[in-house]
């Protein structure tokens, strides 16, 4: 019964989405409060029905209802409970339902939270979100029905890909999707503004929290995905430039640009059409990214089943939504008020430069991801670009970009003096310079040119962290030294910005150490034998087969000794008999100075192939990314910032400075 109710709930949700779009558009036109309220209620009810459908699908997974085709193909009765639930979104149909759930959730929040917005405009935004919901619900119902029945029902299901049976993967897709779909709100705001032909600072004030919320979720989602790939895939790397990773990075880069340009729009009324364009592109890139890797246009190890019918539907969906928005842009944007002017040295131009760099970075990743397709179409050649392409182009571009980051917040709006800015940053510049010299002197002898590269990276990291904190110090200093009152009144959004920029510095330190000082060693060990890596002695204590709930594992225990301190580590290779898949559960010994990582291979003649890695500071990459996301969350918690959001009264108001 559950599946039929779920299917029916989705049909009702589609009808409600149509009502939402229709009432919203009419409400906008007639400025009739009753119509507007009807649109809002439709949006909220629609979210309720989609949530019901999602809950029913989860329940089908939880109770092993193998008569539902999706459950039969992604759930095995031996699969642990948490992974049965996670299997709900570990497949194409379920993940589409999750996508729709988040979309309607956001749409309901926008509908419920428009009290501070101009009613006519709010109604239009709700209508546009309704149109998006129609498109995605139709895609779900007509091409990817998650509730299709299987008759006769099999006695046993086949298993969720074991790689996905991992705590990281329980949370990774929902966070990523909240990020992707969250940008739909910015898209709807941009489209509605184009329809109205009016963009002002209030528009930016309303939309910025939504952008920030989506961006924080996307940052967390990508971080979790990177960490998962690191420990689960057993390849000893944190980023692989796989098309699916790029699909998440592209909207992140654009979203970061959008975050900054919307700031200029709010504070200074400049970069109007640019911000609108970015809002359209960011969500479009989320769609292109999520769907094209799943449609068979690009090949990727991550891709779900290929189905040209779905591919066509997706292309039409993108053509109508993005195409429609861009056509509106071409029609309306030229006639809109152009922004305020600013001088070449000003915070506006620094943020414009930030946008240019981020656009260039987006272009590089976009070309790397899609160029093979274009080349194939034009010349018939198949090419693939691997990490060498990105290392050569992306990395050198990011270095000057990141070096410019601390300047932005130090610049005054409108116009500033170059020398004055430099003098405000004197201390961090000096500190970074000292680090550069000291690190270069220390590492050139041992590591040569690579050592110089490392020195540059660490100096950049110090510069980013110190440069960000210099802003706080500058703010806190009064004539009589540091003022406690000024510390207390520092707005959360400033703290957030400082954390966001400093977090990038922490990441840069980790990335530099990984790029220059990571070492690895492959050895064959019998129990009792040892090997050494970066001054650590690794002894294989025992190896044997253990039985898990739905897998068998070859498990090896290691003893790591460093400076006399021992530590044990377990590394596994798991075989999941239901699907015949194997996974690596690498053994990881982490500390602040880095990670010792052990992956095991096959056993031959009583010796186990062991891959040892020493990854200095690698954890800093994820911790840095978490600090970046935390910065975003801090800014989001700023009360002034929340003006456009629905009243989330659960948020800790007491903690806010007055």
């Amino acid at each position: 019964m559950g599946a039929e109710i779920g299917h029916f709930a989705l049909i009702l949700a589609l009808l409600l989405a149509i009502a939402q779009a229709g009432f919203g558009a009419l409400g906008h036109r007639r400025l009739d409060p009753a119509l507007m309220a009807a649109a809002n209620v439709s949006a909220i009810a629609q979210a309720g029905f989609v949530a019901l459908a999602f809950g029913l699908l989860m329940q089908a997974f939880a109770v092993h209802d193998f008569s539902v085709a999706l459950v039969a193909s992604h759930s095995h009765s031996l699969q642990p409970f948490a992974y049965r639930l996670a299997a709900t979104w570990g497949n194409h149909e379920g993940s589409m339902l999750l996508w729709v759930l988040i979309l309607s959730g956001f749409s309901a929040m926008v509908a419920a939270g428009g009290k501070t917005m101009r009613p006519g405009f709010h109604s239009l935004v709700v209508a546009v979100l309704g149109l998006l919901a129609i498109a995605f619900l139709a895609f779900l119902l007509f091409t990817s029905n998650p509730f299709a029945r299987l008759f006769p029902a099999p006695l046993e299901g086949s298993e969720l890909n074991p790689l996905l049976q991992d705590p990281g993967l329980v949370f990774h897709p929902p966070l990523l999707y909240v990020g992707y779909v969250g940008f739909s709100v910015a898209f709807a705001f941009a489209t509605a503004a184009l329809i109205e032909g009016r963009v002002d600072a209030a528009w930016a004030r309303w939309v910025r929290p939504w952008i920030l919320a989506a961006w924080v979720a996307l940052t967390l989602g990508i971080t979790l995905g990177s960490f998962w790939a690191y420990y689960e895939l057993g390849w000893g790397g944190w980023w692989f430039w796989d098309p699916v990773e790029n699909a998440a990075l592209l909207p992140w880069l654009l979203g970061t640009a959008l975050l900054h340009s919307a700031l200029v729009l709010e504070k200074r009324g400049a970069l109007i059409s640019w911000t609108i364009l970015l809002a359209i592109l960011t969500f479009s890139m989320s769609m292109v990214g999520t769907f094209l890797v799943r449609s068979g246009v690009l090949t990727s190890v991550h891709a779900f089943a290929v189905d040209p019918e779905r591919g066509i539907f997706i292309l039409m969906l993108i053509a109508v939504s993005t195409g429609g928005a861009l056509a509106l842009f071409g029609w309306r944007a030229p006639t809109m008020r152009s922004g305020a002017m600013f001088s070449a040295i000003s915070r506006e131009s620094a943020l414009t430069l930030n946008n240019l760099f981020l656009m260039a970075a987006t272009l590089v990743v976009f070309l790397g991801t899609f160029w093979p397709l274009v080349i194939d179409l034009v010349t018939g050649n198949k090419i693939s670009v691997g990490p060498p392409y990105y290392n050569r182009i992306f990395a050198p571009m990011m270095i000057p970009f990141l070096a410019l980051v601390p300047f932005g917040p130090m610049l005054r709006w409108k116009s500033d003096e170059w020398r004055a800015v430099a003098s405000r940053l004197k201390a961090p510049l000096l500190l970074a310079g000292l680090v550069l010299l000291a690190a270069a002197a220390a590492s050139f002898a041992t590591f040569g040119w690579r050592g110089l590269g490392a020195a540059l990276g660490f100096a950049l990291a110090v510069w980013l962290v110190a440069g960000s904190f210099a802003l706080l110090l500058r703010r806190w200093r009064s004539e009589s030294g540091l003022s406690a009152r000024l510390v207390r009144t520092t707005p959360l959004s400033t703290w957030g910005m400082v954390a966001g920029h400093a977090g990038i510095g922490v990441m840069v330190a980790g990335i530099t150490a990984m790029a220059v000082f990571a070492t690895s060693e492959v050895v064959a060990l019998a129990p009792g034998e040892n090997a050494s890596i970066s001054g650590r002695t690794v002894t294989l204590q025992s190896a044997g087969v253990v039985q898990g709930p739905n897998y068998q594992a070859l498990q090896a225990r290691f003893l790591i000794e460093h400076n006399g301190k021992p530590r044990t580590l377990v590394s596994e290779r798991r075989l999941y008999p239901a699907s015949g898949n194997t996974t690596t559960e690498a053994g990881i010994a982490a500390s602040i100075s880095g990670i010792t990582y052990i992956a095991i291979g096959d056993e031959t003649n009583g010796r186990l192939a062991v891959h040892l890695y020493r990854h200095p500071l690698v954890g800093w990459i994820w911790v840095g990314a978490l600090i970046v996301a935390f910065g975003g969350a801090l800014a989001l918690a700023d009360r002034r910032f929340r003006a456009g959001l629905p009243a989330i009264s659960a948020a800790p108001r007491v903690a806010l400075p007055a």
């Binding site: 993005t322 944007a333 899609f370 397709l373 194939d376 198949k382 693939s384």
Partner: protein
């Protein structure tokens, strides 16, 4: 003029969608085969393992035995996916030679040491020079060479059971029959 600038994003989107639509109908794994029927281009690569014999096209062409040449790299994700199949084929007696393409030799050695090595010999091509001669466009890529050193088939993408059963395996049987005749 100004309007044209604002319409440019729409134009680019339409071009992109056109490309995607054309891409949908294609099999991304099907490759043109300019080399097929041609003799194996000349290359001579240092061995990946220092001290082993180098990998030279002249030597590969001479011995009268049909063989596979597999182009891989340690950074290539699909290569990891196909590696198990290569090991299995090697165990079944299929001669496979490897080219470690655009890769640090140390990384390539570690990659092979960690898995079992299915290759009779592995050449290291860190600059991708031999790859250019072969027209390699990405990894993994596999060439099937007959006993006279003529390229008879090229497969881009990982070899899995299906590819082997329907494509490379039957061709190898045919080449072996030719070599016996």
């Amino acid at each position: 003029m100004k309007r044209a600038v604002f319409l440019a994003p729409l134009g680019l989107l339409l071009l992109l969608l056109l490309a995607f639509a054309m891409g949908l109908g294609r099999d991304p794994k099907e490759l043109p085969s300019a080399l097929v029927g041609q003799p194996l281009p000349a290359f001579a690569l240092d061995a990946l393992e220092p001290g082993s014999a180098p990998l030279a096209s002249a030597a590969l062409a001479k011995d009268g035995e049909p063989k596979l040449i597999n182009v891989f790299a340690s950074w290539c994700t699909s290569c990891r996916a196909e590696h198990g199949k290569l090991v299995q084929l090697a165990a079944e007696g299929v001669p496979i030679y490897g080219i470690d393409w655009k890769d640090e030799p140390a990384a390539g050695r570690a990659y092979l040491a960690e898995r079992s090595n299915p290759f009779r010999a592995v050449g290291s091509d860190p600059s991708g020079r031999a790859g250019v001669e072969l027209g390699v466009t990405g990894t993994p890529e596999t060439f099937l060479i007959d006993g006279k050193g003529v390229v008879r088939m090229r497969h881009a993408g990982p070899i899995d059971e299906q590819v082997w059963q329907t494509k490379l395996g039957p061709m190898l049987e045919q080449l072996r029959a030719e070599a016996r005749a």
